[in-house]
Amino acid sequence: MNKLKNALWSARNAVKGFFGRIRDFLVDHKLGFLVNWPRWFKAVVYLSPAMILLGIFTFYPIVNAFRLVVYEGYNSADGSITGYTLFGNFINVITEDNFIIPSSHTQSSVMINTLVIVFVSVPLSMIIALLIATALNSIKPLKGFFQTVYFLPYVTNAITIGLVFAYMFRSGSAGLVNKMLGVFGVDPVIWVERGATYWKAMFVLILYGIWAALAFKIMVFLTSIQGIDKQYYQAAAIDGTPKSRIFSKITVPLISPMIFYILITSVIGAFKTYNSVIAIFGNTGTPAGATYTLKTIVFYIYDYLNNATPGNLSLAAASSIVLFAIILLLTLVQMQVGKKRVHY
């Protein structure tokens, strides 16, 4: 064993000495820069794996999206185009049926759907998450257990639970929700299948959105509530302040920067709703036989991508730039408000 060790060591020293000799030789002959790399070169070596990948799959696509958007009739199969246009693709997207304006009064548009999801599911999930976080903060026994349970949806697969939700809301047979409602004497309701009305289908979608979004928000809110200085609460307790006032005058204002940050990120997240729609309603993005659509903006973008007609990629790029513009606007608002820090 020792012999082996010695042999290894001497081999190692021999290799080291050999390289050392090469180094000395190079330095003597003014070729030192070959072995004594400058710092920036080292940085390049360390950064290159990540940077090459990011360059190909992140930075180039951003540039390319703006290139695609000025092409007319771009054919991805052979790379040919029929012409250039500055705003043509944007105009095509915006004026297309069901993007912003519904094509008929029974219809809905992807913009309306997305906005409904944003304006209903985000505030609701924020409020519920805030209440749960406050309640969690006020208890001691079973706190860890509840925390774990509430965090579960975060690690699950969006498609899986979407399928389960669709199954739970089945109407004909084997539907759990209708069975539960039946206990209270409510007649079976058609939620997500043929014959479901827009708002019932939307209800399921929003409920699923809330279910999936709670975990992250509760987690963040709880962390920031725990970070509040206990002195405020002690002072309020001495004054005999009621709990509701403590909540509205101490807890909420003190974590308002976090609330605002979460608000913006969840609005952005809600704008990007896609998985839940496809999980619950399938590739058509709507209940079978319905005259309306439940597609969202992102759904719309992937529709273009899946359908490889020439010119569609440009339209996809145009609509994703529209989405990006919305997100950019929201982020700017967040930065402006965040700077002022008006939370008391």
Binding site: A77, I128, F146, Y154, N157, T160, V164, G172, A174, A317
Partner: protein, 482 residues
């Protein structure tokens, strides 16, 4: 004396953990054996009767002849044992590895007793006996008395509890004290009501969160009739009625075994790639000084704002025939795995996260190492990575979970090339796009679809329970969505 006792409980605990491990292996082997002999009913020589999976068979096992319900019961028990004992094993192992003498308290001993009961329930008498014995060793260490002393201490404790109540019935008070007492009683009542309401609210919300999981597990073990046709589905399910054959049908007949293998391949390689590129890049951003470091970093942070859809359009062109030609070139040249792995071998948010962690490591350490002639690479591998290993581990777990859940990109990629692409489906894609319809009909076999969903979810939940701390810390600290 104390040190000896501590060493004793530790040695005992190590032995117990060893036995636990043995039993976990036993459970797994048993499960694999019994699950392996579950028979899929055949319609004829080649097709499986998917609509009537719940047929009764007689199996020859080493336990003698077993009928289907008995076999199902055994498998159910083994699965329950596994789901309880595997996370517990990891927890015990971590605890016994890191324990210090000051942690030994009466509460610590009580938890040991509790785990002993769990061991007993999972048919592991050896661990249970050792744990019970160890409880009293720990008690001796914490309180100074063993089993006999414990029995003796019960009496005085009971007396103390009962004595308190007697004391409360005090003699007469003056008016002020009475008023005060009344107030205190009212406040206690208010507090109790508030606590009840709080717990009620929390429990209701927890049920709301749990129901989909519960319904998924229950449905995945039902037969076709109860899951799809029955207008009044049963809410509970007995151990013997659990149709484990559903899982077998999903794995073998609906090819989910292949899809899981694909997903694991993609998860493994993309995670390794991500870890390597992330470590090097965040080291460069945290410790190396070069021109434009902050500029490049802020540009990277800014791109986090851009929606993924914008990249996907171009990336799709990049990997297809006109770009790298990984997909869409026909059966011979298609390399779906490359297309699914390479774009996800790095991540800006993880670079950001790890850089923050690297930056916290004191600069003086770096200077000292440099003075001693330590190269940057050596410093990175010998100092930085060990210090930041919890963060790197968190990134690993989050990335594996992310690849396990990947849907949009793999779906887009494997949609190219028809059935050829279907061989490379990842599980989420297969869940959405695989055909769960009853052969020759358009009715969805929900028991199988939901069983496939459970197959996707259960490993995730197990990983979550085992590494809960890492995952929750990672998300809490980075404050970003994965």
């Amino acid at each position: 004396m104390k040190n000896q006792l501590f060493a004793k409980t530790n040695r005992l605990e190590w032995i117990t953990v060893g036995i636990d491990l043995l039993f976990v292996i036993l459970y797994i082997v048993g499960f694999l054996y019994f699950f392996g002999i579950v028979e899929l009913p055949m319609l004829n020589d080649t097709t499986i009767d998917l609509a009537n999976l719940d047929q009764n068979y007689v199996y020859q096992t080493f336990l003698g002849e077993l009928e289907s319900p008995q076999l199902n019961g055994i498998i159910s028990l083994l699965v329950i044992f596994m789901t309880v004992s595997v996370p517990l094993l990891v927890i015990h192992f971590k605890k016994v590895k890191n324990i210090i003498i000051y942690e030994v308290s009466p509460g610590f001993a009580a938890t040991k007793f509790f785990y002993g009961v769990i061991n007993l329930l999972s048919l592991n008498p050896f661990s249970a006996a050792l744990r019970f014995y160890n409880t009293f060793v720990a008690l001796q260490l914490a309180k100074g008395y063993g089993f006999k002393g414990f029995l003796k201490s019960i009496g005085p404790w009971l007396k103390k509890v009962t004595a308190k109540k007697v004391q409360e019935e005090d003699n007469e008070d003056d008016e002020d004290t009475l008023l005060l007492k009344k107030n205190i009683r009212r406040q206690t009542a208010v507090h109790a009501t508030r606590m009840t309401l709080t717990y009620f609210f929390l429990i209701v919300m927890a049920v709301f969160i749990i129901i989909p999981f519960y319904w998924m597990i229950v449905t995945s073990l039902k037969d076709f009739y109860d899951s799809t046709v029955n207008p009044n589905p049963s809410i509970f399910i007995g151990l013997q009625d659990m149709q484990w054959v559903n899982y077998k049908a999903v794995l073998q007949e609906l090819n989910f075994g292949v899809y899981i293998k694909n997903t694991l391949i993609v998860a493994f390689f993309s995670t390794i790639g991500t870890i390597i590129t992330t470590i090097f890049a965040s080291y460069a951003f945290a410790k190396l000084e070069f021109k434009g470091r902050e500029t490049i970093f802020s540009i990277m942070i800014m791109t986090m704002m851009i929606p993924g859809e914008l990249y996907i359009i171009t990336n799709f062109i990049t990997v297809s025939k006109n770009g790298f030609g990984w997909i869409g070139g026909g059966a011979v040249t298609d390399t779906y795995f490359l297309a699914m792995i390479v774009p996800f071998m790095t991540s800006i948010s993880y670079i950001f996260f790890l850089r923050q962690n690297f930056k916290q490591i004191p600069e003086s350490l770096y200077k000292a190492a440099r003075v001693d002639g330590c190269s940057d690479f050596k410093y990175l591998t010998r100092v930085m990575i060990p210090i930041a290993s919890p963060t790197i581990f968190t990134i690993t777990i989050l990335n594996v979970i992310g690849s396990w859940n990947a849907f949009i990109w793999p779906r887009l990629i494997t949609a190219v090339g028809g059935t050829e692409g279907q061989n490379y489906w990842l599980i989420s894609v297969a869940l959405r796009d695989a055909n769960f319809n009853l052969p020759g009909g358009d009715r969805i076999m929900y028991n199988l679809q939901i069983a496939a969903s459970a197959l996707v979810t259960v490993p995730l939940i197990l990983v979550f329970f085992t590494f809960r701390k890492y995952i929750m810390n990672g998300i809490g600290r980075s404050g970003t969505k994965g």
